[in-house]
């Protein structure tokens, strides 16, 4: 049941109607219904994994209470470790088990009989991170253990952000689950706008680019270096439109139910250095890792000053890469991004926030943006290449003389769509999301809605409803 599918539209319409009209001000009934809706949503993918989700939620809930009750630090630590072992162990089993077994067997040339047929449960990387942060926050006294089981189970399974995030912190969502939600016209309209923008990004932009990038990546060894490089640029926009489009819709649907969830993108296409890019891209994951991995590592390595900081960043980024899946290329993707930080650290520019001086970027700002995006695209080779051999092959094409030829697959329609995305983002770069246009006159707003709706109806590609980040 994808956000852009007819089934989801019907499902959400029913949920919305029952949630507000039938259950109205009955908070408990609303929460019971919300949990059931989340479970129906999840079971629609694969009911078997619903059991895993319920068990995982139960274990985290129980351990949370026990950690909170326990006074002895040793026992507290044991319970936290038990929770982490359970969460990470489950994630490891489903996501990484075969990778390690296969790699081990290959390394030592052993006949491998242990590889299992394991299907990755949808959203496991996202809900596992929610559980981990919950337990760690209790341990660190940032959060009280949740006694309301219904609220907690809802937090883990909340369907708008279930499959691909954002990874909400318990401190943000749990309080909202325990107080009356209010529907306001302002919120509803803003949610509808954000959903419309998300649908445009996914159905029109990402789905139009996707066949071209697939064609390029599958046949890279027969294509010119310029075409492969062009494919990487296109993929940057495809992934941005796909993932931020999904996030826009997730945030919009949550908002329609009266919830504010974590922002996941902040116009990363205008980042002027790599640190800024990661502060604006997949924010919920990077901020999660900053809090639970990077900061403890920095504290650990503080005696080594800049070298310690570099080590912490590189480790953090290797983890970001590995989070995407069990592939060496993902690890290298993370490592490369970590290395991109080195000049910033050495020049003390890590935390420098760059604001645009005017409504049009200066040449220097434009240069910074282009350089940052070029670095991102260069690293994307490691993201899209399924194996190291493919990555080497793609880099080989890019660094060949054929990079100076005119790329194939240049289509006016796609370039135009990319232009629209850039323009929308640029106009709203200081706002909460790309379609926060309440400042405009009603007639302008309506014209914009009609334009986007027309674009979806005319240029939409409706067959491919799955999102790139679902596989992670």
């Amino acid at each position: 049941m994808q956000f852009t599918s007819l089934v989801f539209i019907l499902f959400f319409s029913v949920v919305f109607a029952v949630y507000w009209w039938v259950l109205g001000k009955k908070l408990k009934a609303q929460n019971i219904f919300l949990l059931l809706a989340s479970y129906v949503f999840y079971a629609n993918w694969d009911w078997r994994f619903l059991i895993l989700l319920i068990i995982s939620s139960g274990v985290s809930y129980y351990l949370g209470l026990k950690i909170s009750e326990t006074k002895t630090p040793g026992k507290k630590k044991l319970l936290v470790n038990l929770g982490l072992l359970f969460s990470i162990g489950t994630l490891f089993y489903f996501k990484y088990f075969n990778f390690f077994i296969d790699s081990f067997a290959e390394l030592f040339n052993i006949k491998n009989t242990l590889t299992l047929t394991i299907i990755l449960p949808l959203g496991i990387s996202f809900y596992t991170f929610r559980m981990i942060s919950y337990l760690l926050d209790i341990k660190n006294n940032k959060l009280k253990a949740e006694t309301d089981m219904l609220a907690f189970f809802n937090y883990i399974a909340f369907f708008p952000s279930m499959t691909s995030g954002p990874i909400d912190k318990a401190g943000l969502l749990l309080p909202q689950l325990k107080k009356e939600r209010i529907f306001t016209l302002e919120n509803g309209s803003d949610a509808a706008r954000q959903i419309l923008l998300g649908a445009f990004k996914k159905l029109v932009v990402a789905n139009s680019i996707s066949p071209v990038t697939q064609e390029i990546f599958q046949n890279y060894d027969h294509l010119s270096g310029s075409t492969v490089a062009y494919g990487m640029i296109l993929f940057l926009f495809e992934m941005y439109a796909d993932f931020s489009g999904y996030s826009d819709m997730a945030i919009g649907f949550a908002k329609l139910l009266g919830f504010k969830i974590t922002k996941n993108f902040a116009f990363p296409l205008f980042a002027q250095n790599i640190a800024e890019y990661w502060r604006k891209w997949h924010i919920s994951l990077t901020s999660w890792l900053t809090e639970y991995v990077f900061t403890p590592l920095v504290i650990q390595f503080r005696d080594y000053e800049k070298k310690g900081l570099i080590a912490a960043i590189i480790l953090n980024f290797i983890l970001i890469g590995a989070w995407h899946g069990p592939r060496f290329t993902f690890v290298l993707f993370g490592l490369l991004h970590g290395l991109y930080y080195v000049p910033l650290i050495l020049n003390d520019k890590l935390n420098k926030k760059k604001k645009f001086s005017k409504s049009v970027p200066t040449f220097k700002e434009l240069g910074n943006i282009l350089l940052t995006m070029a670095m991102v695209c260069f690293a994307l080779v490691l993201f899209v290449a399924p194996t190291l051999t493919d990555a080497v092959g793609m880099y080989g094409r890019i660094f060949s003389l054929s990079v100076f030829s005119v790329p194939e697959f240049m289509k006016i329609k796609i370039l135009g769509l990319i232009g629209i995305i850039i323009l929308i983002d640029w106009l709203n770069k200081d706002k909460e999301h790309g379609l926060e246009i309440s400042r405009f006159k009603p007639v302008t707003r309506r014209a914009f809605y009609v334009f986007l709706i027309f674009m979806i109806l005319y240029f939409g590609v409706f067959g491919n409803t799955s999102f790139i980040y679902e596989q992670f």
Binding site: L6, W20, G24, K25, R181, I182, F183, T184, L185, G188, S189, A192, Y449, I453, L457, Y458, F459, G460, V461, F462, G463, N464
Partner: protein
């Protein structure tokens, strides 16, 4: 909940929803034989005489020719393609929905080849069959026009394409007639033909390496025969391809005719095998019969059936 805000919100949003719905309804009303390769299989009326199989059957058997030969009957070609309508339980359930429920004396032509009773070697069970994602697997309505259910579920492109590509502007090269016949119009000059045949050989050689004849599909074929046998007379027909494709087929399943022959014998139905007459027809790509050859081929099948019917009398 602030009910006045909710009302205002719904009021505002309803204009957009209604406008979108109206545009879609209007665009959908232009759906025709140009829309895609399957749409017209789901707009009715429900037939009592039916042709089944894959894309070979969909192009080689022309219902108009059968209608002319069998004066009082109307045929419908319900063959889709290898991915969507190989013999299996999905196809059987779709046939049940497609067929006129009052059918008592129908004629059912089931076209067979080694591919539509095969599965991929790596397929473990029926859950992995390709047809599970086809329209046959999830369509409810088979006889409404315009069929918005089909368009919503299985038309992935913008609905403006339905309007822009409608048949009054010009027939598509792959035009699906109301009676289910897929009319393919391609240039059949010898040079182009040879190119397409060569490419088809490469494709089928690779394909044959990944396939195996499936007992499960053969069982489903029998189930379909048994179901249709209660509603009329079933004929199994093997459609040929050009020599290059037939050689691959015969190497892939040398005893295919024997297998189908025994299925026919077991179920007391007639098996008409045209595989040895491959050189009598023209093919668009070596695999699919050219439309004019298809008309001749269909007439020959009709004659065989008529002869059989006479003999039965």
């Amino acid at each position: 909940m602030n009910s006045s805000d909710m009302k205002k919100f719904l009021f505002k949003i309803s204009f957009y929803i209604l406008a979108v719905a109206a545009v879609l309804l209007w665009l959908g009303s232009f759906a025709d034989g140009n829309t895609d390769d399957n749409y017209r299989h789901f707009i009715g009326p429900k037939p009592s005489n039916i042709i089944l199989g894959d894309s070979r059957g969909s192009q080689a058997l022309v219902p108009d020719v059968l209608d002319a030969k069998f004066k009082d009957r109307k045929f419908d070609n319900f063959s889709l393609n290898l991915t969507e309508s190989p013999y299996g339980q999905v196809y059987l359930e779709a046939i049940k929905k497609k067929l006129n429920p009052d059918t008592k004396d129908g004629i059912f032509i089931l076209t067979v080849d080694p591919w539509n009773v095969s599965t991929g070697k790596d397929v473990k069970d029926a859950k992995e069959y390709t047809e599970n994602t086809s329209a046959l697997a999830d369509m409810h309505f088979y006889d409404i026009a315009p069929n918005y259910e089909y368009l919503l579920k299985h038309y992935p492109k913008s609905w403006f394409n339905i309007y822009n590509d409608r048949e009054v502007i010009g027939k598509s090269n792959t035009y699906l007639h109301k009676n289910g016949w897929m009319e393919v119009t391609v240039d059949i000059n010898p040079a182009d033909l040879r190119k397409r045949e060569a490419s088809k050989i490469i494709q089928y050689k690779e394909f044959a390496n990944t396939q195996k004849v499936s007992q499960d599909r053969l069982n489903a074929l029998e189930d379909i025969i048994k179901y249709l046998d209660t509603k009329g007379t079933v004929y199994l027909v093997r459609i040929p391809g050009f020599k290059g494709v037939m050689d691959i087929e015969n190497a892939f399943s040398p005893d295919f005719n024997d297998i189908i022959g025994s299925v026919a014998q077991k179920n007391n139905v007639k098996f008409i095998d045209f595989s040895s007459q491959y050189d009598k027809y023209l093919y668009t790509d070596g695999n699919h019969m050219y439309k004019e050859s298809g008309k001749i081929f269909t007439a020959q099948i009709a004659d065989s059936i008529l002869l059989d019917k006479k003999m039965l009398k």
